[in-house]
């Protein structure tokens, strides 16, 4: 608030402004069926929230909110996940892109800055259970009808996620600090949508991105115990 004349000169003219929202695809990998390290295949899944009253019933959407004054987009994402899903602030949102079709929201002009967040399944379970049916995790191939351009946002999130997992071992930190190669493969296979190559070929590639954990190999129900690795 310096000298008034200059401040006036440098003030933004009055012009129509769009509302700016953030919508977030929270991605995770579901535990394999049945369970355990000897399990089968997993699925990449996204967090959906039941739409507020006054909307088409039975529809689910992505968690989102309007950008507040002075707020960073990443802070807005964190706040929306806190308010709508009870998640903590330990999320690392990555921006996808702006969705800007003028007709995308019938209430008026709303730009949505779409984001993607990785969270381990174990972080999401208590949150979904506490929501009493207002939240659900759905495989990305089975998201039903969604409002706005939320299906496109999910698709963009999946693309970005796949690109990330093609480059690094576990960029989403979906696994605990140490894990077996099989566990890592289950995650990669799920993220890639089961189009990845064989588990056998994967091992060689993955080891170069990891460092061996000093812990002793983990005993399984049957078979040779599995070495533990860490993210490099």
């Amino acid at each position: 608030m310096g000298k008034k004349d200059k401040a006036a000169k440098r003030t933004l003219q009055d012009h129509p402004r769009p509302s700016v929202a953030v919508d977030t695809a929270v991605l995770t990998v579901l535990p394999p069926e049945p369970a355990g390290p000897g399990g089968d295949r997993s699925e990449l899944a996204v967090l959906q929230i039941r739409r507020a009253r006054g909307h088409k019933k039975g529809e689910w959407s992505l968690p989102g909110t309007f950008l507040h004054e002075g707020e960073l987009l990443s802070e807005s994402v964190a706040r929306s996940l806190r308010e709508k899903a009870g998640l903590g602030d330990d999320v690392v949102p990555r921006q996808l892109r702006v969705f800007d079709r003028p007709e995308r929201d019938t209430r008026g002009r709303v730009l949505s800055v779409a984001h993607k967040v990785w969270l381990p399944y174990a972080r999401l379970v208590p949150v979904v259970e506490a929501a009493d049916g207002a939240l659900r995790l759905v495989p990305v191939g089975e998201v039903g009808p969604m409002p706005f351009d939320h299906p496109e946002i999910v698709a963009a999130a999946v693309d970005q996620g796949r690109a990330e997992y093609a480059q690094a071992a576990d960029p989403g930190r979906l696994l605990p600090d140490s894990f077996t190669l099989h566990e890592l493969w289950v995650v990669h296979d799920a993220v890639a949508g089961h189009y990845d190559s064989s588990e056998d070929a994967f091992r060689l590639r993955a080891v170069r991105l990891l460092e061996p954990s000093p812990e002793p190999p983990r005993k399984l129900d049957v078979g040779r115990p599995a070495r533990l690795y860490r993210r490099r």
Copy 2:
């Protein structure tokens, strides 16, 4: 404009809205020194515009504008380039990301949706000449001080451009319909910032992304004439 009650229910609440701007890095490749197909190395360059009066003198910025009502972001980019640089509407803007630091613009909260546009040098020459000193093309390594986060936008544009040229022969359509392998290499070498491998290794890689042109080889000043290729 349907039934008034429902419309009221579904109207956006009054809340503070940021201004939304677009800023665009127009990228091109300068002609090689001295010139001609036997030329040397080229430079990746960006279009700058002299800042309007009332700002620090000597500073150059990226062309930008505020998003208008009902306008798509891509339309806004095209309009800004038309109004500020006299460029036509035949641009293909690609979004980079939103720059959202609250303090990035001292006039108030302004989100900038940064974009990148490829344009061939020949398209830009008449535009820069007609601007009478208000526009210039500068190698991306030599952009001087720029306002806001424009240096970051240029860096993001260069990154996206490099990623594009690592995947395709000439995604920016910087070359005419048919061109020699040498001309293509000059462009790639400039985009990659001269860190690409040798021209020799490049040829083998590039040919697979091209189809031979039916035109006869182009005669040069000296040496064997060069075959012409087309984008596939």
